[in-house]
């Protein structure tokens, strides 16, 4: 029983770490919005979380992971040409090419493949940061980070209530 609750906490803590990683990567993109030759990066959160939790299709722990599955990724990619942003955490990231060889954050929790972004409007100086997309992704990621925090707080409160028995 306690094991299940702890599992949930564990899962959310991994998600939180990955959200922080993604926030950092997007912050780097925004910082380099004017640097010539800079190539924008992004973290495929769904795959990274899969790797971090070691979850395959079954979903071993208390949670199955529907958001990490590319459900109709192609359809999503074609309808939402802008890619990135909202709900792009599903498998088929529209705006990004995953490059597995560059992945592997050192010391991180698993093989978080960082992807390179595809330019919607190429710039003369070779910079591939799309500031609108990055800002959207940043806000999106911040909200998700807070959501994960709330889940953790909820789990912790549940545990505490169970321990105190009140």
């Amino acid at each position: 029983m306690l094991d299940r609750l702890a599992n949930q906490l564990d899962f959310h803590s991994k998600a939180l770490v990955l959200r922080a990683e993604r926030q950092r990567v997007i912050a780097s993109n925004i910082a380099n919005a004017d640097t010539p030759g800079y190539v924008a990066r992004d973290l495929d959160f769904g795959n990274a979380l899969k790797n971090a939790t070691g979850m395959s299709s079954g979903g071993s722990g208390a949670l199955s992971l529907p958001m990490a599955r590319p459900q109709g990724g192609e359809a999503f990619a074609s309808t939402v040409g802008m890619g990135g942003g909202m709900g792009g955490d599903g498998g088929g990231r529209a705006g990004f090419i995953p490059v597995s060889s560059v992945g592997g954050l050192p010391g991180g929790s698993g093989e978080n493949g960082l992807a390179y972004s595809i330019q919607a409007q190429p710039a003369m100086d070779g910079n591939s940061v799309d500031l609108d997309r990055e800002r959207a992704a940043f806000a999106d990621n911040a909200v998700h980070y807070e959501a994960t925090l709330r889940f953790i707080n909820g789990s912790a409160k549940t545990l505490l209530t169970a321990i105190q028995g009140q």
Binding site: E21, A27, S28, A31, A33, D34, Y38, R41, I152
Partner: protein, 134 residues
């Protein structure tokens, strides 16, 4: 803590953008100058940004790698009464393009604001993380 490096990244960007704003301010101040410190016409200065890797993959700050002087020809204006006029009566003004500098200024200030916003968001998130479990 990976979130803390956001402050390094955005801080480096804010610093680089403020240096760019400084260059713009100096260029705009000298837009009508006929002579710089060396006695020749003032040359517009532009900063060049460069990516600085910071630790982990995907974490990249910015720095100003060099400050270039524009080599464009200065504006030549016929004004024989000016003490800086040459033998033909022409005065060479600085080669600053005021319109370009204004555009540069808007771009720099927007980039600055973006990075400040990023830092604010990161700060909010970190503070909320500190309150975890309370």
């Amino acid at each position: 803590m990976s979130m803390f490096s956001i402050f390094n990244v955005s801080g480096s960007a804010v610093s680089a953008q403020s240096q760019r704003l400084n260059a713009v301010a100096s260029n705009l101040a000298n837009v009508e100058a006929v002579a710089g410190p060396d006695g020749k016409a003032f040359k517009a200065r532009q900063v060049v940004f460069q990516t600085v890797p910071m630790g982990d993959a995907g974490t990249a700050g910015v720095r100003v790698s060099q400050v270039l002087e524009s080599q464009a020809e200065g504006r030549r204006v016929m004004d024989p009464t000016n003490p800086a006029a040459d033998a033909q009566g022409y005065v060479t003004h600085s080669n600053v393009n005021a319109v370009e500098e204004m555009v540069n200024m808007i771009s720099a200030s927007r980039a600055y604001q973006n990075n400040v916003e990023v830092m604010n968001t990161a700060k909010t998130l970190l503070l909320k993380t500190l309150q975890m479990g309370q």
